[in-house]
Symmetry: C2
Subunit: 311 residues, 2 copies
């Protein structure tokens, strides 16, 4: 019986790889560079070579491996088709078929990286014990992954769970990276919090520690913890937008738990104090009973979730 499973998380600069046992214990973890040149034609062969090398090194036979799970940026359909992954250079390709072929028929399952990371947090991270989970990643952007009854909700074209682009502000004049105006990402990402802080600094003449040094999401929440009034106002704005966005998601999806990760989440549970008021004000009562938890797997969520795809 197969004892091992590989989890692969393809990023724009590095590919994270992990060897797991079937209980989800991580046995080895390593990285290889993502070679995006020539439309990313080397990425899957490099991954296959890395897996074969690890198997040789550890004397693992093919029949001892349940398969390889892989998470990649961009929409990934249920059948493994990636339509476009801009930062890898990929146009349309079938992730499952191509990697299976490179691995001499080994079983491959694929998914969008944010969705796969959500699955990882459900399996071994902040969402353990739950089957209806929304993972929210507050990083440079805002990403998301939705798990329903233990399964990733991919959506019709693999673009489900794009919660960073929920429209939450009608009066925004600066465009989001996606081209729209007023997306959640414009206020709840690290970049968004910085923007809110800079706006607050410009429009107020209140004293604030944010007036000296670099303005960043981390600086804002450090200042909040130190009782800085202006930073607290910024945190309230952040929380109002994110609470409203999560409230909308709760009303539609009716999850058990939100698992909040990404760089911004390093501020800790204090985030929830700012999210909850607007969440409670805007969420349909039948869907308010949702737990807020912090993600615990950090950058390893993707390899855990990818491995989980096989089990």
């Amino acid at each position: 019986m197969a004892e091992y499973v590989f989890g692969v998380d393809v990023g724009g600069t590095t590919v994270k790889m992990g060897l797991f046992d079937k209980e989800g214990n991580i046995l080895e973890k390593w990285e290889i560079p993502t070679r995006t040149e020539n439309h990313g034609e080397n990425i899957l062969p490099d991954i296959a070579a890395g897996i074969k090398e690890k198997m040789a090194q550890k004397s693992i036979a093919k029949e001892d491996v349940a398969g390889v799970g892989i998470g990649t940026p961009g929409p990934v359909e249920k059948n493994g088709i990636v339509h476009k992954a801009v930062n890898l250079g990929w146009a349309e390709l079938n992730l499952k078929e191509e990697l299976t072929a490179l691995l001499d028929g080994m079983r491959v399952e694929g998914g969008n990286d944010a969705n796969v990371a959500a699955l990882g947090e459900m399996w071994k991270g902040g969402g353990q014990g739950y089957k209806n989970l929304v993972a929210v990643t507050l990083g440079t952007g805002v990403g998301g992954g939705i798990i329903i009854n233990g399964e990733i909700m991919t959506g019709a074209t693999g673009a489900g769970g794009e919660i960073g682009h929920i429209h939450v502000e009608d009066d925004e004049t600066e465009a989001c990276g996606c081209g729209n105006f007023g997306c959640l990402e414009e206020y709840a990402s690290a970049t968004g919090i910085t923007r809110l802080a800079n706006r607050a600094l410009r429009s107020s003449d209140k004293d604030s520690v944010l007036r000296t040094g670099e303005v960043s999401a981390k600086a804002v929440f450090d200042a909040v913890k130190a009782g800085d009034g202006l930073a607290i106002e910024v945190a309230k704005q952040f929380g109002d937008y994110l609470g409203k966005g999560l409230g909308i998601i709760a009303g539609i999806i009716n999850p058990e738990i939100f698992v909040i990760g990404g760089g911004v989440s390093k501020a800790g549970e204090i985030l929830f104090d700012y999210i909850r008021p607007s969440f409670e004000k805007t969420t349909f009562h039948g869907c308010q009973n949702v737990i807020f938890a912090l993600a615990t797997l950090g950058n390893d969520a993707g390899i855990y979730g990818a491995a989980r795809l096989l089990l």
Copy 2:
């Protein structure tokens, strides 16, 4: 082999019942009153009696019936537990277990009425051929049902798909029926359109046919079709809110099709002309490719969908 299936749709005043063949052809359709007195204790026995009577009348044996599907108001969990259905008088009960017992062990499947109606529209209505569908009912309120990969998304507590209570307006001062402020239902239901029209009539002194006669959703869209300027402004407001709400849903769920039903949908495809501009403006590009269609089953969607639960 079982040839028949029953579909039951429990409303606050009448229970709609249908006898179907397994291809989904409706053979008989009838109604019984919903007896809500004494905490609705007669509702399930009345339904069971109605089914047995129909079987006797048509000489249908128990083994010829695949089972009974039933849709009821309020949240219904996957296991058939109803926590509270206020307008039926029900507190917690297990719909599947109780009705099965009353029907001598016949198989029963249950769901929330709006979700079940969505399944009906997917099976035999405006959403035929699609498996990822969001049904939107614009009636007295705004209801919804979400189908993912051909299955109802019930959510963790059976309250999934409550799209009428998506928060779409921060500055609302009148409360929604749910107690919150700024829910989609306050602008996109028949009642909501009437409210928008009355507000427009008060705040403008423009001429309008709406100044004579009853103000209603139907009157507004009749006036729109006649080129009435004020009515067109109201339709634009309605469409801005609904397009934004559906855009948010599309970004989260990534469906193939929206099926729009309920009394307001009788205005026809002209609705889409008012919904699309804000939908396109606010929806994440990867999720914009969604079809808008009208529901076609009307009040029968519930019995169709209930029957479909068995197949």
